[in-house]
Symmetry: C2
Subunit: 175 residues, 2 copies
């Protein structure tokens, strides 16, 4: 399956696309960093982000989108912008009719490094190794987005199907 | 000018449309509350909110959109959803090519009641009086959205023109 991962941010938003199946190494398709100018007003920035993410989804045609879940414990100065960017990323996937799954940073770290406490350097090392790249993806925002996509390939497909089944049961019987 | 105000929320999002000119009483055009089901997944909720706001903008054809600015000091349990909803609201205005202005809760309270510390009840009383309604708008989320729209009519038009002029100067000369 092909998955597009998004590490949401208003100034720099990482996007990584990989292809693979659970339990096997994934293949890199592409990575990007969408930037918006902090000097621009919020509507301009959100519009640019929305268009860039919508274009990347259309270009890479993933089967699913994985977005990092944002917590209010994050950097307070930037958390509102990050939350807004994550909303735009989730919406871009949903508008394309794709399943969108969110993951906590610890879930992604555990999936990719085996430890929910891994640091940024360790994540970059593992992403580089898992995708068999000649050198680390730059900038690091892209590595986080690729890690999200790998995490979804390895965990998410299954979880989404489970979630969908649970949802059907909850809503009153299989459909 | 006709302004659409948005009091962002993921479970209940208030929308109020008024028409008026600075310094004169505004006229009510319409108000709505867009609801999403907390039992639904985030992508479904954001998609529903996006469609509802986009439809309301298309239906009421405002000249500007005013959205309440969200702070991380808000209720921590709901702040991330509120921030994502505010991002969707700002985007809905920007995608329609409209100027979008954000206001802090104190700015709105000061514009409508004369005090930045006004409580919810006082805001509802003033919105009902200013729009010469027979009874208070229900639910209260709608009153906050109407207050945002009134605030923009009275303050925002001017501020937007000033901001646009400043922007032109900053970018190097009048265009």
């Amino acid at each position: 399956m092909r998955v597009l991962g998004v590490d949401p941010g208003l100034t720099r938003c990482g996007v990584g696309v990989v292809e693979g199946v659970p339990g096997r190494p994934c293949t890199l398709v592409a990575y990007h960093v969408v930037r918006t100018d902090p000097a621009d007003e919020l509507p301009t920035r959100l519009l640019h982000l929305d268009r860039a993410l919508t274009d990347l989804v259309a270009e890479h045609r993933p089967e699913a989108v994985a977005v990092e879940r944002v917590f209010s414990q994050h950097n307070v100065r930037t958390v509102m912008g990050t939350a807004q960017a994550s909303g735009i990323a989730v919406l871009a996937g949903a508008r394309a009719g794709l399943p969108v799954q969110t993951y906590t940073p610890s879930e992604v770290k555990a999936a990719v490094t085996g430890s929910g406490q891994a640091d940024k350097r360790q994540m970059t090392v593992m992403v580089t190794r898992l995708l068999r790249l000649a050198e680390p993806p730059k900038p690091a925002d892209a590595a986080d987005a690729l890690a999200l996509a790998i995490c979804h390939v390895w965990r998410g497909g299954t979880r989404s199907r489970l979630a969908a089944a649970t949802e059907r049961v909850r809503r009153g019987g299989a459909r």
